[in-house]
Amino acid sequence: MTSLLAAAPAAEIAQASGGVLGLSWLMIALPLAGAAILLVGGRRTNSFGHLLGTAMSLASFVVAVLAFFELLGRTAEQRRVGVELFDFIPAGQLDVKMGLLIDPLSISFALLITGVGSLIHIYSIGYMSHDPDRRRFFSYLNLFVAAMLLLVLADNYVGLYIGWEGVGLASYLLIGFWQFKPSAAVAAKKAFIVNRVGDFGLAIGIFTLFATFGTVAYGPIFEHADKASTGILTAVGLLLLLGACGKSAQLPLQSWLLDAMEGPTPVSALIHAATMVTAGVYLITRSNPIFDGAPTAQLAVAIVGAATLLAGAIIGCAKDDIKKALAGSTMSQIGYMMLAAGLGPAGYAIAIAHLITHGFFKAGMFLGAGSVMHAMNDDVNMRKYGGLRKVMPITFITFGLGYLAIIGFPGFAGYFTKDLIIEAAFGQEGVRGYLLGGAALLGAAITAFYMSRLMFMTFFGEKRWDKDAHPHESPPVMTWPLILLAIGSVGGGAFLVLGDRFIHFLEPVVGKPENHHGFNPVAPVGLITLVLVAAGVALAWVMYGRRPVPVEAPRGSFLTVFARRDLYGDAINESLLMRPGQWLTRFAVFFDNRGVDGLVNGLAAGVGGTSGRLRRLQTGFARSYALSMFFGAAIVAGALLLVGNL
Amino acid sequence: MELYAPILVLGLLAAGFAIFSVGIAPFTGPKRWNRAKLDAYECGIEPTRQPVGGGRFPLKYMITAMLFIVFDIEIIFLYPWAVAFDQLGVFGLVEMVLFILTVLVAYTYVWRRKGLDWD
């Protein structure tokens, strides 16, 4: 293994010396300690477990904010700070030094994770107040926060991988939190298994990186990425993309996300909307030097993103389950981010910007949906909602603001970030630009349609409630997070995008986008987008606002059925993977029983049979023993004579 | 070859005498038949009818035979020593005493265990 690092020069990462940045490991350690205390402490911590978990998350947030300001206090060139922690795996050539990398990209994620995470912790105090296992829930949440922070803060791929698996574990535990529901258990298992496929790709990608560069640390790899062959970079890029697809529920590994909604709603908001599912986007953005050297892999990222944004949007159109509709939406929005990330330097910053605004509005909407479910006896069927705006004003308003943000209503968060993505997609050369841009544009229209459908079915129209439903506004501990998230949904986009604030902020990590020229509110693409969005809203109003919504879902066209069945994702998985897998398993079992066991048994029987036959030589007659000795002696003497005279 | 001629002659004479004695007896000796004449000649015990397979022999014969072998071997060692004991000196004497003592131990064992009593 010839390392490309002939003489590893020092990476241009400044080392933290004291200060808050030197203590940034606390961000991970605090929630991890919280999880450990709650899990080890068991029932004794029941009384204060939720408070401890929330406090740990908040403390982590405080550290992140302090680190953020310290970073802002530096010049742009000095905003990449390494924090050496310990020598993790010193094994011969493989020497993994665990450390953190605090730079604009990771601190953005850290703020999002701890900020939104803390709000969701607070919300969960109310949401889970009746659950006997609330303490366990908070310990898992803390575990998730710690793992997710490790994922984004680590300065090497192995650290990222540990965080990656950690969030996968937390996700598995939380999806299946209500283990008594078989559907939840199955969903957790499905999420875990589908993610294994992606993790497999990620792991092999990391192995390949190590084989090529002789290290797994970001600094040296990115510095020398251009020295590696395009073939290697493309392979690594595609493998990383496979990992990203698993974690971020992109085609073809999207099927687990809809089922993951079996988990408690705060989980859906935090893990399966705002943070964990965006890890794939982080991975690709973080690995930008690799993808920049592998145009094919980059194009694959964009295509996967475009395809998923459409698929997710179509699924969102047909779901009557409010959380699944939102989950389809999440898929779709992450598709936008992947698309942007696949556009190269032109798109990385936009992808992350959209990721952050999406984190706010989607988390807000999930929590709003949770608030609605809370009010409606945990019923998730939107056909049984209707007219909730009057009884749940705060939920309605905050959800509405999130709605305006996601469809891209001018001035709201999504307007800025999504339009940038669509523009950037059209900015690609030739047919590629039109195809990707067209997909993004079409997605925007469908988004407007299904989100409006969701709004109308839930908050407008007549009451279609079950008889025993007595909706009411949620307690303040749940509504305050909604309000705070709504503020982000309203102003986040403008804050990040106007004046290219965020793009400049991320420049040290992802580079300067070429021919980027600020946000233009009257660009032709933006105007077309607005028209299409309006059309989508209008269509939804015609179908669901004006007409009464039937409580029983109509059969619908084949397209509706197609969308309801998640575009036959499960069917495809089943026929392409599961059935062959089962056949393979059965064959393997058969082979194991007949072939391997047969071989082993046959061997054993053969040995036994030989033994039985040889045993007959053991007649018990001294004369036959003596005869065998005699012949043995003759053979030994003969052999020795033969050898000796050779 | 001449060296062996007397031995050969002696052998021939001995064989001739044996054949002559046995051959002449039936013609010259008196023929008075009785039962005792058919018995084995003063050798071991009276042969009795044995069961198939030879039956059992009293263990005492074995002991006698083994004692015979023990002393036979003792003689084998004693004989060369006796020929050259003057040259072997004290060392030879001591070793031979040790050897005889060892055989003596075995002998006393047989004696104490009544191996020498016939009944």
């Binding site: 036994g608 033994s611 053991q618 065998s628 | 131990v105 064992y109 265990r113």
Partner: protein, 522 residues
């Protein structure tokens, strides 16, 4: 002989005998002779009381003397070239004496031996002697003679002394094999078979010795080796002689195709004697094998090595495979012993330069210690599992023993795992040491056969473990007699040795290294 003729007439120079260096052997033989006198003169009821301390003390004393010799550091050939006193022989003597001591502890613990050997099985005389409570106490002096023979056999530096050692070792063992108190016919049959086949093998040895003498003009091992280079034209004498000599020795270690006696004899013999044979005799025989093949035929190794390859492979395979279908625990252990002899042979074959020889020798010595303790322990356990007919030999009787007596079954399982060579047992390091030496000696294919045989062997060891722990005990199953302190002590010592050699093998490995350091004296 030439010296005899050259000496001036009237004086034969007195041979020198280094009594101090032969002290361990002489102590054991002396105690044996005293034992005969005890038999002759002590009243019957006192005999055991005299024999046990006499035997054990003499063995302990001999061991102490061996240690003194080892510390003293003199390494030479004693008794006019008849007995070698060197590192390997001292190590082997120490091993034999300790193993013999432990085996003898098993002798008196339970009525293992026949009341009156001369009485016909099932006869009224037998009943009478049983009623009298008689025991054939001659086993003690006989065992001492056998042990003394082992010492001489393994240390002999010329073929004549070796033959004397062989016979002194074997003749008492033939007798002892026939002295089982239960299943006397089986025991006597074993004794007769062992005697007949042993005599047959001695004849081979003797004939081989004669041919070698014809080739080299000497029975001294070193002189034979010297003659290998010089004498030519009489190669047939040499090869046939070496082969026949080898047959006699391979018979004693139970190498195939000369292994047939082992299962029958091990099964029929009283179990303490089986323990003594499986440990002490094997150690002694390997000492003799090493001496003949490395010292006397050391320069011939290119010629005997291919043949020994075949013997080793056959031995390992036959031992491992035939063990599978055994239903008697002692027979199974006998085949196990055959397989182990095969493993040890791979070490004998691994000759090369001095460093290589030291490595191989050290490995063999360690293996012998490890295996010896484990096998004595295993047979000691066999003596404890009893039912109405004596020891419960049939494997089916051992079913569910783990439930009835978990500790004993656990210890036995541990011994079996050590036989299989599982890490953290002495067997692992023994096999490792020998196989590693064989690999560095260029016998990798042999090691592969060895490992495969070990795997096959592991099957039947584990089968017994499964039988003991995962089967339900029969309602009329055997009882475990733990009343005897001596047997319990033997099991404990063996288990401790198996653990210690498996966890902390280094001291004994160092000792074996040191013993092997200067190789054999010539």
């Amino acid at each position: 002989m030439s010296t005899l003729l050259a000496a001036p007439p009237g004086t034969i120079p007195a041979p020198t005998i280094e009594y101090t260096q032969l002290a361990p052997m002489m102590l054991v033989f002396g105690a044996a002779i005293v034992g005969v006198l005890v038999e002759a003169f002590a009243p019957r009821h006192l005999r055991s009381a005299v024999h046990v301390p006499l035997t054990l003390l003499s063995l302990a004393g001999a061991f102490a003397l061996t240690i003194l010799l080892a510390v003293d550091g003199t390494r030479n050939v004693a008794a006019m070239g008849a007995v070698a006193v060197d590192g390997p022989s001292l190590f082997i003597h120490g091993t034999i004496l300790v193993l013999a001591f432990v085996s003898v502890l098993l002798f008196n613990e339970r009525l293992q031996f026949v009341s009156q050997a001369a009485s016909v099985p099932g006869s009224t005389e037998e009943e009478d002697s049983l009623e009298e409570g008689a025991v054939q106490t001659e086993v003690y002096p006989l065992a001492l003679f056998a042990i003394g023979g082992m010492l001489l056999f393994s240390a002999a530096n010329d073929l004549l002394a070796m033959f004397v050692g062989l016979e002194v070792m074997s003749l008492p063992l033939y007798l002892l094999c026939g002295l089982a108190r239960r299943r006397r016919l089986l025991s006597q049959e074993a004794a007769v078979k062992y005697f007949l086949l042993g005599a047959f093998s001695s004849a081979f040895f003797l004939y081989g010795m004669a041919l070698i003498y014809g080739f080299a003009g000497s029975v001294d091992l070193a002189k034979i080796n010297d003659a290998l280079g010089s004498a030519s034209g009489r190669d047939t004498l040499l090869y046939v002689g070496a082969a026949l000599l080898g047959v006699g020795l391979l018979f004693k270690i139970g190498a195939a195709p000369f292994q047939a006696w082992k299962p029958d004899v091990y099964q029929g013999a009283p179990t303490p004697i089986t323990a003594l044979m499986a440990s002490g005799t094997l150690v002694a025989a390997f000492g003799a094998v090493l001496r003949v093949f490395w010292v006397a035929l050391g320069n011939l190794d290119w010629d005997w090595r291919p043949v020994m390859w075949g013997v080793a492979i056959l031995t390992m395979v036959v031992g491992a495979i035939l063990a599978i279908t055994q239903t008697d625990i002692k027979r199974m252990l006998a085949y196990s012993s055959i397989a182990h002899a095969g493993f040890l042979l791979t070490g004998v074959i691994a000759t090369g330069g001095p460093a290589q020889n030291e490595e191989a020798l050290s490995g063999i010595l360690f293996y012998l210690v490890a295996y010896g303790f484990t096998t004595v322990g295993a047979f000691a356990v066999v003596t404890m599992v009893r039912d109405a007919g004596g020891e419960a030999g049939h494997l089916s009787r051992w079913a569910g023993l783990g439930k009835r007596s978990p500790l004993l079954a656990g210890v036995f399982a541990f011994f079996l795992l050590a036989f299989a060579g599982i890490p953290l047992t002495s067997g692992f390091f023994g096999k490792y040491a020998v196989f590693a030496a064989a690999v560095s000696g260029g016998a990798t294919p042999l090691v592969i056969v060895g490992v495969v045989s070990s795997a096959i062997a592991a099957f039947f060891y584990v089968r017994v473990i499964v039988l003991m722990f995962f089967s339900d005990p029969a309602p009329d199953g055997p009882t475990v007699d733990v009343s005897s302190m001596g047997t319990a002590a033997v099991v404990a010592v063996a288990a401790a040795a198996t653990v210690v050699l498996g966890v902390l093998p280094q001291p004994v490995l160092d000792l074996a290294d040191a013993a092997a350091h200067s190789l054999f004296v010539r």
